[in-house]
């Protein structure tokens, strides 16, 4: 009977469920919003490739029923670049974590953004390396506690939306997993945009990060998002802070710029026209 069928059934690999994520984790929400965006846009999922790196959210490529690939740690963006420029008709979406994308994979991220490769990056930012048990990473806030900052974090974190904007992304947004509708809208916008888009999703990690930072449940973390979030659309991403008191969210960049894929195709056409002319 139709009521037995989950509306997302065709979008998920049933045989891979249940997922590995902890109770209170926000990764399922991100997957949900991604599927909802694909469904709302009526995208031909035969032509969608979902790529992830290593980490908790990295397993998302196994759950989504598009063509999908789970790369080595940090290389999702570089792999996706190869897919997209080799076969431009594909829609290539990367869903990966803050450590994967911005520590070990940081170089690939900034260069793909600079080239303006037509790929969409959704980053689950949980402020730490959850899969390995909660070590600090490039987004861990100053003074936060993790298993490798037993005396408090003394490293300044990246501001991911500022980094993405400065690197050349044509669409940049930040939401939390509390902002379901806005996040879904953003993913839809990114999917329709030509060029490199970046969406940061602040996601709860109560089992690991929260436990060390006085937010032991998913509700505790979501309450922090609720109290601290401030929507500041098109404000300066350099000032989009994440502190215990204030999480600045919203759309920060939405500009037009020719994508790398388009410039590649234009160049190839010119080269081939010239060759025909010479014959």
């Amino acid at each position: 009977m139709s009521e037995d069928v989950h509306p997302f059934e065709t979008f998920l690999r049933k045989e891979m469920i249940p997922h590995i994520w902890c109770e209170g984790c926000g990764n399922g929400i991100i997957l949900n919003c991604y599927v909802r965006a694909l469904k709302d846009l009526n995208v031909n999922i035969d032509k969608v490739v979902t790529v992830s790196g290593i980490g908790c959210i990295g397993r998302v490529s196994g759950y989504i029923n598009t063509d999908s690939y789970h790369t080595t740690h940090g290389r999702a963006v570089a792999f996706a670049t190869g897919v997209k420029v080799a076969k431009p008709e594909l829609k290539v979406v990367i869903i990966s974590g803050d450590g994967d994308l911005f520590a070990i994979g940081g170089n690939h991220f900034i260069h793909a953004a600079r080239r303006n490769v037509d790929i969409q990056v959704i980053c689950a930012n949980n402020f730490n390396y959850g899969m390995t048990g909660g070590q600090y990473g490039p987004t861990t806030p100053l003074d936060a506690w993790t298993t490798t900052t037993p005396y408090g974090n003394i490293e300044h974190p990246f501001n991911l939306v500022h980094l993405a904007a400065a690197s050349g992304a044509v669409y940049v947004a930040r939401w939390t997993t509390l902002h379901l509708r806005r996040l879904t809208q953003s993913i839809k916008k990114a999917l329709q945009k030509e060029g490199f888009s970046f969406i940061e999703v602040i996601t709860p990690c109560p089992e690991i990060y929260g436990r060390y930072n006085k937010m032991k449940t998913g509700i505790d973390m979501m309450n922090w998002f609720r109290k601290a979030s401030e929507i500041r659309d098109y404000s300066d991403p350099a000032k989009a802070e994440i502190t215990p008191e204030r999480i600045v969210i919203g759309e920060f960049v939405d500009i037009e710029k020719p994508s790398f894929d388009k410039l590649l195709r234009d160049m190839a056409s010119k080269v081939q026209e010239k060759m025909v002319g010479e014959e």
Binding site: Y69, T72, N107, L264
Partner: protein, 385 residues
Amino acid sequence: MAGKDRVVLTGKHFMQGDIACAEGAIAAGCRFFAGYPITPATEIAERMARRLPEVGGVYIQMEDELGSMAAVIGASYACVKSMTATSGPGFSLMVENIGLAFMTETPCVVVNVMRGGPSTGQPTKPSQQDVMQAKWGSHGDYEIIALAPSSVQEVFDLTIEAFNFSETYRTPVVVLADEIIGHMRERVIIPEADEIRVVNRKKPKVPPGEYAPFRPDEDLVPPMACFGEGYHFYASGLTHDESGHPQTDSAEAQRKLVQRLCDKIRKNADKIVKTEGTMLEDAEVAVVAYGVTSRSGLSAVRKAREAGIKAGLLRLVTLWPFPAEEVSQVAKKVDAIVVLEMNYGQIVREVERAAKETPVIFLPKLGEEPHKPAEVLWAIRGALQ
């Protein structure tokens, strides 16, 4: 000179090794190159940057060799034959994703124009120091196919062969050239396009619902669907079953997968391994060499024959899988083997294992030049005493 479509540059050329490599790749159907400039392999990238747009392909210069190798795998999964070219320092970065290419059974070609190492070493000088790295560079058990050209013509031919092996066995293939072979110029004859044997990967014969991306045929090689063809498959660097689903706890899954991935190369070694014997029939001493050093070896063997010494040359065209049987057969017939390498002892260990009781004399060479024929002749004489 060139065919009208300029895909295969049929004709006689005086060509540099690196350029011949690029032309071989294009003739084999390569339409994607991702790389990072590095001496002495840069000319391959430069040639591809010019040529690929002419033939409907894509050149992309990545931010590093980690990204280059990842992009090469991505392009291959998008069904475009892909390659990269580098030298030792870049190859060190690529081994991470060569492991991924092996694990996810990705056809692709990696060219290593070897220079002096370790580390930055001697960028403009030749070596054969990455032979063991090609075999063992990535972590975990794996098998690689590695081919060693010894002339510019062979760079062209073996690059095509490398693509054909990669497509046949769904696996990364390494071309191990060196600075001399990469930079020297020689005559190359490029045949007509229809005379070049080009192999393409097996495609699935089942509908999407029945397709398992890692379910092998009898030859141990699974047919390969590509992104965008409607198969909705999943590939992961994690240990996986035939459906591609991660199996991180199952010992059986680990055994089954790793054994098959290695066995598809090992059990097909007789179809892959290629050696070339010269004057071995009555030889009392055999020189074993590959790549540029085999040219010194050949010259020395000829000089030995002129001096009445029964010497012969076994040139290893395939380095991995190692031609153990071929070396063993030669070892049974000769009194001694002389191994030439531009390193401090790598393939010689494999030769010793295959040669068993036959004495093996090793002639290492580190630095600018390959062995002088006179040095090799001296060693041949020494071997007979």
